[in-house]
Amino acid sequence: MSEALHMPQPALEDLIAMLWREGFKVLGPVARDGAVGFDEVRKVSDLAVAMRDTQEPGRYRLGQGAAGEIFGVVNGAFSLKPFFFAPEETLLEAKRERRGFKVSEVAPVAPPLAFIGVRACDLAALAVQDRIFLHDRFHDTHYQARRKDAFLVAVNCARSAPTCFCVSMKTGPEATTGFDLSLTELEQGFVTRSGSAAGEAIAAKLGLSAAGQNEVVSAKARIDGCAAGMQRGLDPTDLPRLLYAEAENPRWKDAASRCLSCTNCTMVCPTCFCHAVVDQEELDGNMSRRVRKWDSCFSLEHAHIHGINFRPKIENRYRQWLTHKLAAWIDQFGTSGCVGCGRCITWCPVGIDLTAEVAAIRAHPVKR
């Protein structure tokens, strides 16, 4: 890891202004409608300063935090996903011509984005999405156009929400890779490190001095304290095998008795990538747009193929989601689909908690 630098609080203001000057649109955690989400920031006071979140299954509230604390809110309603994998976008257009029709690709309009305050779990999730959309030689051009110039300023967590479980997924609470700059908030400013050439260049322009030994120690103590205090966990031992073997475990039915099949968990999950592709015709039939939208394995249509639906019940769909996320994903992409951000727990209207479901299946297997 690169050298630890001391970043006084006013330098954060400079960083935001500098990123705008470098041509980035700068986004950070901003309070809106009772939750924090990435939104445009021009100055530090646009951020959710002096606020704290309380999170539990099915419940999120914003409240007052410590005076002067800038990154007191752990993680918000949305991850980075919507900014790179757009919730809805036109991929191509087909126009009728005198003879036949002409297809043209619609290039995404993508100003370079800079994010301030990205948590380790969300960086890990971005790496998972990169594997999906930028795999080998097969690149999703729309994702890539938005992703390639992004500048990421991570914030190491000094506090976790009760729904967080990054420690057991080995993704947090410290950002170790995938960022340009990382920050650890202290009473007086930040300890910052750069994680890329672009980050180093920005740090150099900010003219930061080396961090003092005591700062480095207390930054580490904060992160370690966060990790040690984490309340939730998901035991990943033997996971693909356990879930495949337990396909008939009665717990799936039990979860389905609570699950609304509303799709919220998959929508907020920073790694879920399912999408539907639909053609939208103009009324006069002379033009058609091919549109990609987020989709979810919880919708009934998702498993509808010619003449049959192979996941007709909610228990089939809940099992599909969890088994893909925690097991098949590993076979498919070499990594778990879960980074432990806890969003699916918080933003499930009925508070279904995947860590509790997996623990229940592990505790009462039907196959040994």
Partner: protein, 258 residues
């Protein structure tokens, strides 16, 4: 030749057929593609059937309605219901739980001139329906998409998943989780693009039940938010209350209370 289309009205407020006329930018294109030969709200010309496409608004609430819808069906090659009234019985289906005879006597000075049924029922309880366009009112884009599909001789496909999916695509903060507000979104079919949650209010269920939903769990969710008894019944019976999953749930809650 352009297909001959007709728009029929039964017990309804006209809001759904107005969605055709509200389609300002698309109106010329629409007129270029479809010949509305019977559309009393839009033009005085009223031609006889048969019709290629009939759009039916409104529910069946009188003996005359019940006879007329059969004639409409006979005259129409393709019949699409538009809106909550035609598709689910509408808000006026509240009469299905009430004493209509008493309403008649109390409301009208000369009740003997009022001939009405004791129920408000969807078109599909009377005749075969080829396509149901949900909503109170219907969404203009969905309506025009149905027209376009029919012009292309394709089966119209309307999404039937929950409002939540569009709510999240739109980037709304969930009112249930962040505010504890009741919201019918998880059990409601999308169509509006999650309009109400975008304005920080819970969904009212204008588009009827999603294609699959867990009403027992949803009723427990409402109860955990303090929405029980009459309050819960009213929410479910509001706009599409007579449609089965919601009717049964509301009836069960009402029976529980007694």
């Amino acid at each position: 030749m352009k297909p001959r289309a007709a728009v029929f009205k039964f017990a309804s407020c006209d809001g759904c057929q107005l969605q055709f006329l509200n389609a300002e930018d698309e109106l010329l294109k629409l007129a270029g593609q479809v010949d509305f030969v019977y559309f009393p709200e839009a033009r005085s010309r009223a031609l006889e059937g048969p019709y290629d496409i009939a759009f039916v608004e409104g529910s069946i609430t009188t003996p005359d309605d019940a006879r007329r819808i059969i004639k409409v069906r006979e005259e129409s090659h393709y019949l699409a219901t538009i809106g909550a009234c035609a598709t689910a019985g509408g808000i006026q289906a509240l009469r299905n739980w009430a004493d209509v005879e008493q309403y008649r006597r109390v409301t009208y000075p000369s009740p003997e001139f009022i001939s009405t049924l004791s129920t408000s029922t969807p078109i599909s309880e009377h005749v075969r329906v080829d396509c149901e366009v949900w909503g109170c009112p219907v969404d203009q884009h969905q309506l025009l998409a149905v027209v376009r599909s029919l012009l292309s001789k394709a089966r119209p496909v309307l999404p039937a998943y929950s409002v939540c999916m569009d709510c999240k695509r739109r980037g709304n903060v969930c009112v249930v989780v962040a505010r504890g507000a009741p919201c019918l979104g998880p059990v409601t079919r999308t169509g509006c693009g999650a309009l109400c949650p975008a304005f920080n209010r819970g969904c009212y269920g204008c588009f009827g039940p999603a294609d699959d939903q867990n009403m027992e769990s949803f009723a427990r969710l409402l109860a955990s938010q303090g929405v029980t008894g009459d309050d819960a019944v009213r929410r479910l019976r509001g706009i599409n209350g007579y449609v089965r999953p919601w009717r049964e749930t509301a009836d069960a809650i009402a029976a529980d209370k007694k």
